[in-house]
């Protein structure tokens, strides 16, 4: 029985009359790669923001890395990593400076920072660009760098919000290898994406439609439940009928 | 043409949707005019004055009386010596002191001059000069009327008429200045930030790829702000009229037309700034830090233009606000028409064209 890294119960968020996230309930196990799918505007980003403590839930609760996001946000923050849609690295700082900054913020010692930086850059192949401004690095590398920085302090859970937007297929592939590596080492990964082929890479997925979870399970199980052979089809069925399963 | 219209529409929605900014933009100048109208006075009054009179007599008491009955002054006390003056000034109890010689009544008869000393707290020499002038005027009048009978000397009665602003109302002087200041900063800043923001976020490139020409992009970006600026003017003018009853002796149409012209001038300024700025921060610092104080100080807003030394007068002549302020004051306070104000208007137009041309050209270069 593995530990549950993310435990959402009836998590809801309303903005005035509009319900962005409608009482979603799901669990993610330790070391799982969980795909959080849905069309644009389905509520994925809002849900993630609640899970990482940036947005207060209107109703419901969630536990991340064993801590309640509403009552113990600080504890949660120590154990999670985050990569936002815009990569959130400082454009006007160099690769090295970004890594040093986040390392320091998470309390890593200077020696640890140096060591991890070396490994990280070596793995991505950015060693030569150590002193380049992030602004000048190609998108694919920026994305890999952002992911690595999210992992720098060894978090238990990592949230990735549309990490592969605008990136070429080869780089996307390489990126998912990095995800698998991290998962294999015990890190739980929750990734949102609207690339359905990437969904196949996940251990389990959920599909959000209009703020609620319309389908959840392993990719195979989900396809089977709709009697279709591709997730594309599942998606079309769900969004066309607006059904909440 | 329809691509342009669509673009302008997008920009307008952009602004209208940003409720917070909208409120700030419209409300702020209003609050400012109300606040400053009530609170800020360029004039000096209630000057705390001490009079040193070693030998009080009829003549000297007459002078004290004049000061006491003047609403400009507040006679703190009449002292026999200058001893307590020092402490009075230091503690701020005193702003000014008049020191009379001994036996004023005899001194007035001559033959030598009668020497009266006026000491003003000149730590703030601006108000110092004004206090000086007021005290001097009181003493001059007293002297003219206390001197021996007219038959023995010659008297020239100088009467002064203050034109256009007989009561020297601060508000009348201030509100036009405030309009100029707010329009300058708001229009220039808004434009500069708006354009630089597109540059920074990279959406400028998307616009450039569209069928819109660069000039159309700039115009489209800037158009809604012309409307905003104009709304601001209307609000401020309205408030000033209703609350403070400031005069509008000239043509309202002329005034609004000139305001429109000036909005364009400021927008031109904003465009020039944005053509050189790569980031919003640069644009902001250039517009706010670069324009605020110079506009306050070189446009005639507070400090009279006649007091500027020559080199600064030249600089002041290229500050657009200086011309606009003359126009607004002219129309509102003096009731002047285009017949009098055409030179200023032409200069303002010239500056506008210059700024817009330079700005547009520079911007196109950068964009292309």
């Amino acid at each position: 029985m593995s530990d549950i890294s993310i435990d959402a119960r009836g998590l809801t968020r309303r903005f005035g009359d509009f319900t962005a996230v409608d009482a979603i309930t799901f669990e993610v196990n330790e070391g799982e790669v969980f795909g959080f799918l849905g069309a644009n505007g389905a509520g994925k980003t809002t849900a993630i923001r609640m899970l990482i403590g940036l947005l207060e839930p209107t109703a419901g609760s969630a536990m991340v890395a064993g801590h309640d996001v509403a009552t113990e946000p600080e504890a949660v923050r120590r154990h999670i990593g985050y990569m936002s849609q815009r990569f959130s690295l400082y454009d006007d700082l160099t690769v090295r400076e970004n890594i040093t900054l986040y390392g320091g913020i998470y309390g890593l010692r200077d020696s640890e920072i140096a060591e991890r930086m070396h490994t990280l850059l070596g793995r991505i192949g950015l060693e030569h660009a150590r002193n380049e401004l992030v602004r000048k690095i190609p998108l694919g590398w920026k994305q890999q760098l952002a992911f690595s920085v999210a992992l720098l302090h060894g978090p238990r859970v990592v949230f990735l919000d549309e990490p592969t937007s605008g990136v070429d297929p080869i780089t996307r592939r390489r990126f998912w290898e990095m995800i698998y590596e991290a998962a294999a080492a015990g890190t739980t990964i929750l990734v949102t994406t609207h690339y359905l082929d990437e969904a196949e890479y996940c251990d389990r997925i959920s599909i959000m439609v209009d703020g609620a979870i319309a389908a959840m399970g392993t990719p195979a199980a989900v396809k089977a439940s709709f009697s279709v052979s591709s997730l594309d089809e599942v998606f079309l069925r769900l969004t066309r009928s607006g059904v909440v399963a | 043409m329809s691509a342009f219209a669509a673009f302008v529409r997008k920009e307008t929605y952009h602004i209208l949707r940003d409720r917070q900014t909208l409120w700030i933009l419209l409300l702020m100048p209003l609050v400012q005019v109300l606040l400053f109208g009530y609170a800020v006075r360029t004039d000096v009054h209630d000057i705390r004055l001490a009079i040193v009179d070693p030998t009080p007599n009829v003549a000297s008491r007459a002078l004290v009386q004049r000061f006491a009955s003047s609403s400009r002054f507040q006679v703190v006390g009449v002292y026999p010596t200058t001893e307590s003056l020092d402490r009075g000034f230091r503690e701020g109890v005193l702003r000014q002191a008049v020191v009379l010689p001994r036996n004023v009544d005899r001194a007035l008869l001559g033959p030598g001059p009668i020497s009266i000393q006026v000491i003003s707290d000149a730590a703030d020499p601006n108000t110092g000069s004004i206090m000086q002038a007021y005290a001097g005027a009181v003493i001059q009048r007293w002297h003219a009327e206390s001197a021996p009978p007219v038959a023995l000397g010659v008297r020239i009665d100088l009467t002064t008429r203050m034109r256009y602003n007989p009561t020297l109302e601060s508000v009348n002087i201030f509100v036009p200045g405030l309009i100029a200041l707010v329009l300058t900063i708001v229009s220039a800043m808004m434009t500069a930030i708006s354009i630089t923001r597109e540059k920074e976020t990279g959406t400028m490139e998307m616009l450039l790829v569209s069928p819109l020409r660069p000039s159309a992009i700039v115009v489209g970006k800037v158009a809604p702000y012309v409307v905003m600026g104009f709304l601001n003017v209307l609000l401020v003018l309205g408030a000033a009229r209703v609350v403070f009853h400031i005069p509008l002796r000239g043509s309202l149409t002329l005034l609004l037309a000139e305001c429109l012209l000036y909005i364009l001038t400021s927008l031109g300024l904003g465009i020039v700034i944005s053509s050189r700025a790569r980031t919003q921060r640069t644009a902001m610092i250039a517009a706010l830090a670069g324009l605020l104080l110079p506009t306050l100080m070189l446009s005639g807003f507070i400090f009279p233009l006649d007091s500027l030394p020559l080199p600064l007068r030249v600089i002041s002549d290229i500050v657009p606000a200086r011309w606009f302020l003359a126009i607004v004051r002219g129309v509102m306070v003096k009731g002047a028409g285009l017949a009098s104000l055409w030179p200023e208007t032409v200069i303002l137009m010239g500056l506008t064209v210059l700024l817009l041309t330079i700005g547009a050209k520079r911007l196109s270069v950068r964009l292309d």
Partner: protein
Amino acid sequence: MRTILFLMRKEFLQVFRDRATVFQIFFIPVVQLLVLSNAATFDIKRTALAVVDEDRTTVSAGLVRRMEGGGRFTVAILQPTTAGIEQALLDREATAVLHIPRGFEQMLVRERHAPLQLQLNAEEGAAAGIVQTAAQAVVTDYARELGASMSQTPRVVRGAALDLRAQGWFNPSRNYKHFMVPALLVSLTTIIGLLLTAQNIAREKELGTLDQLNVTPITKGQFITAKLLPFWLLSLLIFAIGLTMGKVVFGIPTRGSVPLVFLSAAVYLVVALGIGLWISTFTNTQQQTMFVAFFIMLIYLLMSGLFTPVDSMPRWAQLVAQANPVKHFVFIMRSVLVKGAGLETVATPLIGLAVGGAAVLTLAVRRYSKQTS
């Protein structure tokens, strides 16, 4: 602690890498200080005078010469009729009009007194009062002279001429720059410091990097400190440079303790920059931030006594001005530098500033929430 250092390092790197900003924050204050210090005065240099001389005698001509001779007036128009004079005033060709009536000389000789009319363009307000006094002085002197030359019997007792001696209390040289330079310095440092601080956070919000920081274990206190300190240091540096320039270029006095001035600057800047921080907790975009900043700055500057005297404000406004940190800092600067005052005199405003700083920072920290509700 270490976290704060890491964050501060990032801020410094970001600012100093932006050449445009570095240039601006040093160039703008320096240039404006040098140039604008000469602008801030009510010392009317020359007034354009129109003279309508309906008399056209030697006496009237003498008066006109006298007016010009004093150096305060320039005769722009000299004509025998009032035709076009209204227009001249409207057009600003003349700021003042002196009307010498027909029969001026005759009246003076026969009746020993004559009227004279002066019209002043009062659209700029207080300046008019100064021009009036100057004109009055010339006229009085001229009358004195005429009386002397016209007097038949030398035995006649003549009245005493008025010798008005003007003196400034703390500024014997009446060098207005000694006041304005410190005031301008305060304004410039405040504008730049507040702007940088406020814009900084607004930018991170806009770019999304603030989210990234909010997800980390950084505490609110650490965040605010790291956002404040770098710009506080920069502002102090700008202040120091400005002060040095003031001393070297304008010779402003340093009669009191300079360390006290710096201490006050340090405390004041916490308040000023703290307000910038606080503003950024309300706004979402850089644009909004700038407008609110402008709004607040203008109020602070115009109600601080820098340009218009606080004493002239209505009672309630004077009370409100008590809450204006700029006012207190200017008072401290002026008292210490120009009047040579010591700690006893400035202790109250200084403590006030310190309390204000603590209050603003607390407000900013309170308002700053990583989590949106």
